[in-house]
């Protein structure tokens, strides 16, 4: 192990300008700039700005960490970024029209894409980039999530205000749950027992039981001095131990910290303006927040729950994912 480390160290010295090979890489989609910015997690410097198609929004990193796949809404395709070469290597036009968000299953062989214009979820084979099927859901599909055991897929439809629970084997819709207005993101808890769905205009997060397909509880948010209509939950991420949930609150410029056991909101962390999507550092120690209006990413330290730093990226940062070191 020590030997490998030394070798890598030497390699990076030889490359001179190369960023530390041990740092994670943070990928941020910039909706306005048609780029994905890559940031080194140690130096917090921009490593590269990768040109993509028009209007990059939702993005995922594959379980093997080899690819970052980006929804390219205005070009009706997915762009696939090689996480070593940091370039778009190929595009998948079979994503269906106007893809907004996507999910990859944990096995890494399926992609689920929300087609905002057409009320569809497109299921794709990752190996070939071909569409397997399209599943009709509500109007303006957005959020996409796959359960930890890959058995369930959840999609949200903004205009229909629903969470659609889909069986991943049969690609059939099992249940449609009415949540609050304009649901945006769906995220499974680490144990898969719940899926949390944020409702942007409704201002709540619905906690859905994934066995009974029932809403167990709804969280709402309150900060003294901040008008209630600004509490617009979007991105949701859980800590590695599953004990805390982070919820980006859009125009309230804050990330809420929720204790998943008590369901109490323990903290509101002030970040940049209009935080949307979030990503956890793979070691679980930091949270990265994409701030749409201030064109930056806030780094939150999870142990202290403090915003440590903000990193300028492109214009209208939308989504964020992280590739761990040495993968």
């Amino acid at each position: 192990m020590a030997k490998t480390t030394t070798r890598l160290f030497v390699a990076s010295l030889m490359l001179g300008t190369a960023p530390s090979a041990f740092a994670d890489k943070i990928f941020v989609s910039n909706e306005r700039d048609n780029t994905v910015t890559v940031v080194d997690s140690d130096t917090l410097k921009v490593v590269k700005s990768i040109k993509t198609g028009k209007r990059p929004r939702g993005l995922v990193i594959t379980p093997d960490y080899k690819e970052v796949i980006v929804c390219i809404g205005d070009d009706n395709r997915l762009d696939v970024i090689d996480t070593e070469k940091l370039e778009v290597m190929k595009s998948y036009p079979a994503s269906g029209p106007d893809p907004e968000l996507l999910a990859v299953n944990h096995k890494g062989d399926r992609l689920y894409v929300a087609n905002e214009d057409d009320g569809l979820v497109t299921v794709m084979d990752r190996a070939t980039g071909n569409a397997i099927t399209q599943i009709p859901v509500g109007v303006e599909p957005e959020g996409m999530a796959v359960s930890p055991d890959d058995s369930l897929v959840v999609n949200t439809s903004e205009q229909t205000s629903m969470a659609h629970i889909i069986d991943a084997k049969s690609n059939q819709v099992l249940a449609n749950l009415l949540v609050d207005t304009r649901p945006r993101e769906a995220t499974f808890t680490r144990d898969g027992g719940e899926v949390w769905v944020s409702a942007e205009v409704g201002g709540t997060v619905a906690i859905i039981d994934t066995k009974k397909f029932e809403i167990k509880q709804k969280l709402s948010f309150e900060v003294p001095g901040v008008r209630p209509e600004l509490m617009q939950p979007i991105g949701i991420r859980f800590t590695l131990d599953g004990k805390l949930a982070f919820i980006a609150l859009g125009p309230a410029n804050r990330v809420a910290v929720v204790n998943t056991a008590t369901r109490k909101i323990e903290n509101y962390i002030l970040v940049g303006q209009r935080p949307w999507h979030l990503a956890l550092k793979p070691d679980g120690k930091k949270l990265y927040v994409a701030n749409g209006m201030t064109n930056d990413v806030t780094v939150i330290d999870i142990a202290s729950l403090k915003a440590e730093k903000s990193v300028p990226v492109g214009r209208l940062p939308w989504g964020v994912v992280v590739k761990p070191e040495a993968k």
């Binding site: 214009d117 439809s157 903004e158 099992l174 304009r182 029932e214 167990k216 509880q217 008008r227």
Partner: protein, 402 residues
């Protein structure tokens, strides 16, 4: 109450198990909801150019798209929606048509002038109806002529004027040269601008009435007439920052730009306009609605289309989320603090209890781009920032029976 007109199929199909749950309201199972659309073939102002398409189905097409959006949620919940369309002829009998429609449904989208709207609302048959005004901006409908059974999704003249005035205050363009036509609506809008000036620190340096008969728009060298006429009509004003125009009939407002005697920007009913919606608005997911509308209707979505769409969506939200299956239950829900309809403005929109006006952000838009949205930063209100637009509770002249 004509609730019996809805087909209840309760019991045939239990609410889907997925819907049940302690944290969710049970929407009624299996419900066919009839929504009425009442309009009239009012004369349209002449288009500025004969090449401009004349759209005769504004409003109605928005309501139709609203129905398809309601159906999209409804199909998962066992609820269906149908639009009962009634467009009275120009000289037709609105009362007879309204009575027929109210026989079938008590949920009505009204694409009517204030006069027609009040005649319909005051019918005994409409006593318990929910009528949503999706056209008229007249302030008296929200004031002394307000009615218990009339809700407004159309912004009032006061809301439009305040939205513009806040922006002008933000720009520090404080001196306004007010030009108005002579139509009833022009006078109403001009009055609203005068109130807005007082409220937000603007000054109307002169108010001038312009009677400009557009005549036959299709004439050779017509532009030369206008090029000489407009500077004459606007000459010798006191110093001002901006021309505010109230020309709802489109007779001269469009001709002001680049032709006034002094080189000033134009805002009001032309130039920089304050609207609930515009055909190029795309923020807060608005592009989705624009695309859906264009794909289906094959033309851009106008403000009247949006207002009718929103009215239908208000009914959809009431049916889906109230857990009730009767008019009284829906009315209570619409007026409750729980109610909020999304309309691509970045926030849930609700009705002001004092005059049943939907509070909403207002777009300030130029011919090809969104310039701003009001309320502007810095105009504060203890409850809703959107209540800085229009008539707030302490000033209302609306007296609704409890």
């Amino acid at each position: 109450m004509r609730v019996s007109r809805f087909s209840w199929l309760l019991g045939l199909c239990a609410a889907s198990a997925a819907i049940a749950g302690p944290a969710s309201v049970h929407p009624p199972a299996k419900l066919n909801v009839e929504i009425g659309y009442l309009g009239r073939d009012y004369p349209n102002p002449l288009p500025i150019s004969l090449l401009e398409p004349v759209v005769t189905d504004q409003g109605l097409q928005g309501a139709r798209v609203g129905i398809s959006d309601n159906l999209a949620t409804g199909r998962f919940l066992g609820q269906s929606y149908h639009l009962d369309e009634k467009i009275t002829a120009r000289d037709g009998d609105i009362i007879a048509d309204a009575k027929q429609l109210l026989e079938k449904t008590q949920l009505v989208v009204a694409d009517l002038t204030p006069e027609d709207l009040l005649r319909v609302a005051d019918l005994p048959e409409a006593k318990n109806a929910i009528i949503i005004n999706a056209r008229a901006s007249n302030d008296e409908l929200r004031g002394k002529d307000c009615r218990r059974n009339v809700f407004h999704v159309a912004p009032s003249w006061s809301m439009r004027a305040d939205a513009l005035a806040q922006y002008l205050a933000w720009k520090r363009w404080k001196s306004w040269f007010l030009l108005r036509g002579n139509a009833k609506e022009d006078i109403e809008y001009a009055e609203a601008m005068k109130r807005a000036a007082k409220k937000f620190g603007g000054k109307i340096v002169e108010e001038r009435t312009i009677i400009f008969d557009p005549g036959n728009r299709n004439s050779e060298t017509g532009h030369q007439q206008i090029q000489t006429q407009i500077p004459m009509r606007t000459q010798n004003p006191p110093p001002h920052d901006i021309v505010v125009v109230a020309d709802t009939q489109d007779t001269f407002g469009e001709y002001l730009m680049w032709r006034t005697s002094l080189p000033k920007p134009i805002a009001g009913t032309q130039g920089l306009v304050s609207v609930a919606w515009g055909p190029l608005y795309e923020e807060y997911g608005g592009i989705q609605l624009q695309k859906r509308f264009r794909a289906k209707i094959k033309r851009p979505m106008t403000e009247r289309d949006y207002m009718a769409w929103l009215a239908v969506r208000v009914f959809g939200e009431a049916v889906t989320r109230s857990g009730k299956a009767d008019i009284a239950g829906w009315r209570t829900y619409i007026l409750s603090p729980q109610f909020g309809v999304a309309g691509f403005k970045g926030q849930a929109m609700s009705f002001r209890p004092w005059d049943r006006q939907l509070r909403q952000p207002i777009l300030l838009t130029g011919p090809r781009s969104l310039v701003s949205t009001s309320p502007q930063e810095g105009f504060l209100h203890p409850k809703y920032l959107t209540d800085t637009l229009g008539v707030d509770a302490p000033e209302t002249t609306c007296k609704l029976p409890g």
